[in-house]
């Protein structure tokens, strides 16, 4: 690990929030010649205010909710024209990525802009107080789905693969070697790179802040969050997910669900539908791998 803390301590992140760690690991690899574009999200707050300063040691461009992909495209275009070198990284939540900013994300991906887009997915609008997003999983409680979400989780990584961009990967901070290997690889590729982190949220998912890493790990071990990598039109599983193609190797999803109060009211029928979603996702992975 490098000596520099790219994300300084004492941020406004909630106890147990993985965002500062996730960001620090990215910035350690990307280095100081990096600009972060951050749309409205928890990170807007985590990145400090004008009185107390910001915890980031790289420039941060705050962005309206739907705009980060386009702002990043413009920054990169200017750097190209003015012969400046550096990385342009979007750091966006799931609401910006999959809902309000999706058209802009899709446009930038279709143009194959030379930027890295990272979605930290805490599976709801957490900064405004836990409202469901397109990326909230089926059955999960939120303040706008008091009876549990009825629809499936929008499959962003697949949708981005369908844009035929050079690189797509899913990440989990519970597996730092896999995590950092993917960041490093993304840095070596040019064109549009899409990275998607499942980022557990203690207050939003209703679990004890000490369990963040355990829950992130269980998401992978139960097969709910497969670690994968798409490059040169080829998809492969990575790290612990390689063995989980065999369903019998996966832990039961109950182990993941029972630690989170957002799934407390989940009925047996909803649990069955959630399992079907997960099975369908693995079939889709197999289809795309063959």
């Amino acid at each position: 690990m490098a000596n520099v803390n790219y994300m300084l301590r004492g941020t406004a992140a909630c106890p147990g929030c993985p965002i500062p760690r996730e960001l620090n690991n990215i910035l350690e690899i990307a280095g100081k010649d990096t600009v972060l574009v951050v749309p409205a999200s928890c990170s807007t707050i985590i990145m400090g205010d004008d009185i107390h300063g910001m915890p980031s040691v790289v420039p941060v461009v705050h962005s309206p909710f739907a705009a980060p992909s386009a702002i990043a495209s413009g920054i990169k275009a200017a750097m190209n024209q003015l012969n400046k070198k550096g990385n342009v990284i979007v750091w966006a939540g799931d609401g910006s990525t999959g809902d309000i900013g999706f058209a802009s994300l899709s446009g930038a991906a279709e143009r194959n802009e030379d930027i890295i887009y990272i979605c930290y997915d805490n599976e709801a609008y957490m900064n405004t107080g836990i409202q469901r997003s397109g990326l909230t999983p089926r059955g999960a409680w939120s303040t706008t789905t008091p009876e549990g979400k009825r629809e499936f989780k929008k499959p962003l990584p697949f949708l981005m693969m369908d844009h035929k961009i050079p690189y797509v990967a899913t990440l989990s901070i519970a597996y730092p070697f896999d995590y950092e290997a993917k960041i490093k690889k993304a840095m070596t590729i040019s064109g549009f790179r899409y990275l998607h982190i499942l980022s557990p949220c203690p207050p939003g998912w209703r679990f004890d802040p000490s369990l963040t890493i355990e829950i992130a790990k269980l998401a992978v071990e139960t097969g709910i969050w497969p670690l994968m990598e798409y490059e040169n039109n080829k998809l492969k599983l990575t790290g612990p997910s390689i063995l989980l193609k065999d369903k019998s190797k996966r832990k039961p999803i109950e182990e993941y669900l029972k630690l989170q109060e957002r799934f407390k009211e989940l009925s047996d029928e909803e649990k069955r539908l959630l399992e079907e979603d997960i099975n369908a996702m693995w079939l889709e992975i197999e289809r795309r791998m063959s």
Partner: protein, 379 residues
């Protein structure tokens, strides 16, 4: 050295943009500005203009992308109209609040519903509170000249604000007029080198960082102060431009108003019709003059005040603030309250409805004969 040619408004603005040498352009089609961006795409494709053309997927992204590019030090440009300007609206305000120098051309067009591709000023005027410098052209020559001035105004260290050029959809965008073009080196010397970059890896800052109630208002006050000071600087820049172009530019133009008993106030292309109406009225011995607003923001209050004391004024609005009144009429009313002026508001030309010089003349005569209501709609 000037070249005399003829161009449609969209191509005149595109030519001015090419001469301003932007580094990054964002293009997204919307009638009636599309042929301007097509022309710019040709310039980039042929290598005449060395710039990156970002073919965005929406107007929101058009403004967002040039905002990003401007932060990284590029000179930038985009254009839009009507629904596109509204869709861009969030970014228009963001850019104004961030005080980033950039230029956008608005080919003015009515706003739906119902659908209309035709001209009025409603779209341009919806952005009057967004902390943008706003200029409005009367003809193709002005659209060209003001585009060049917009880059210098926007990047001027005493101003630093986005600048919007309005010019009437179809009436100017698609009409070919005689035009005098400056040579490239005159434009280079006039605008100067862009010297503005916020994104600096050796001096990292947060841009648009959260501001609490203790500080937010301070940022807004700093914009107010900048706009208060901008007017005098814009006058200087216009004068400087006038010296190389031999065309006089000022925030307002006064046509025969020094000795006028009555005034017409207008902005944009139909000011030309109002001017003809003034000439017709003068030939009949009626002392009417025209105040034409070229700079809408900052609003030239003092300049207008000089002429309106004790006068009856017919204010032409190609726009309307529902529940309130004509927007330009309201602006002029706001400075006339202690000047003993009487404002007659005319709402006309919405959604491209043609307005003739004779109709303007007739309405001015009604004003003179005290036959005009406070607000008339020319249907």
């Amino acid at each position: 050295m000037k070249t005399i040619t003829s161009l449609v408004g969209n191509h005149a603005v595109a030519y001015a943009v090419k001469q301003a040498k932007p580094n990054v352009l964002a293009v997204y089609p919307i009638t009636p500005q599309t042929t301007m961006l097509e022309k710019l795409a040709d310039y980039v494709s042929s290598g005449e203009l060395k710039a990156e053309l970002i073919k965005v997927e929406s107007e929101h992204s058009a403004m967002a992308s040039i905002f990003g590019a401007a932060l990284a030090g590029a000179r930038v440009f985009t254009a839009t109209a009507s629904q596109g300007l509204l869709y861009m609206g969030e970014m228009i305000y963001w850019v104004g609040g961030a005080r980033v120098p950039l230029v956008a051309a608005i080919a003015t067009r009515a706003i739906g519903a119902p659908w209309s591709i035709w001209d009025d000023h409603e779209d341009f005027l919806t952005k009057r509170d967004a902390a943008w410098i706003q200029l409005m052209a009367q003809n193709v020559q002005e659209a060209y000249d003001l585009t060049i001035q917009a880059f210098k105004i926007s990047e001027d260290k005493k101003i630093i604000a986005p600048c919007m050029l309005g010019f009437d959809g179809f009436i100017l965008t698609h009409t070919m007029e005689r035009l005098e073009l400056l040579d490239d080196s005159s434009v280079d010397n006039f605008i100067g080198k862009r010297d503005f970059s916020i994104i600096d890896f050796d001096n990292p800052v947060g841009i648009g960082t959260v501001a609490g109630p203790q500080t937010y208002m301070g940022y807004k006050y700093s914009i107010k102060k900048a706009f208060d000071g901008a007017k005098e600087r814009i006058k200087e820049i216009m004068k400087e431009y006038s010296e190389i172009s031999n065309i006089d530019y000022q925030p307002i133009e006064c046509y025969k108003c020094d000795d006028a008993d009555y005034l017409i106030a207008a902005m944009g292309a139909w000011s030309g019709d109002a001017r003809v109406a003034v000439d017709m009225l003068r030939s009949e011995g009626k002392k009417v003059g025209l105040i034409r607003i070229i700079m809408f923001r900052p609003f030239p209050k003092e300049e207008i005040s000089k002429y309106i004391k004790g006068k009856d004024i017919l204010v032409l609005d190609r726009d309307y603030s529902f529940g309130s009144g004509g927007i330009l009429a309201n602006e002029i009313k706001s400075i006339s309250y202690n000047l003993d002026s009487k404002i007659y508001s005319l709402i006309a030309g919405l959604g491209g409805k043609d307005v003739s010089e004779k109709e303007i003349k007739t309405l001015a005569e009604k004003m003179i004969n005290k036959e005009l209501g406070d607000e008339e709609w020319l249907m």
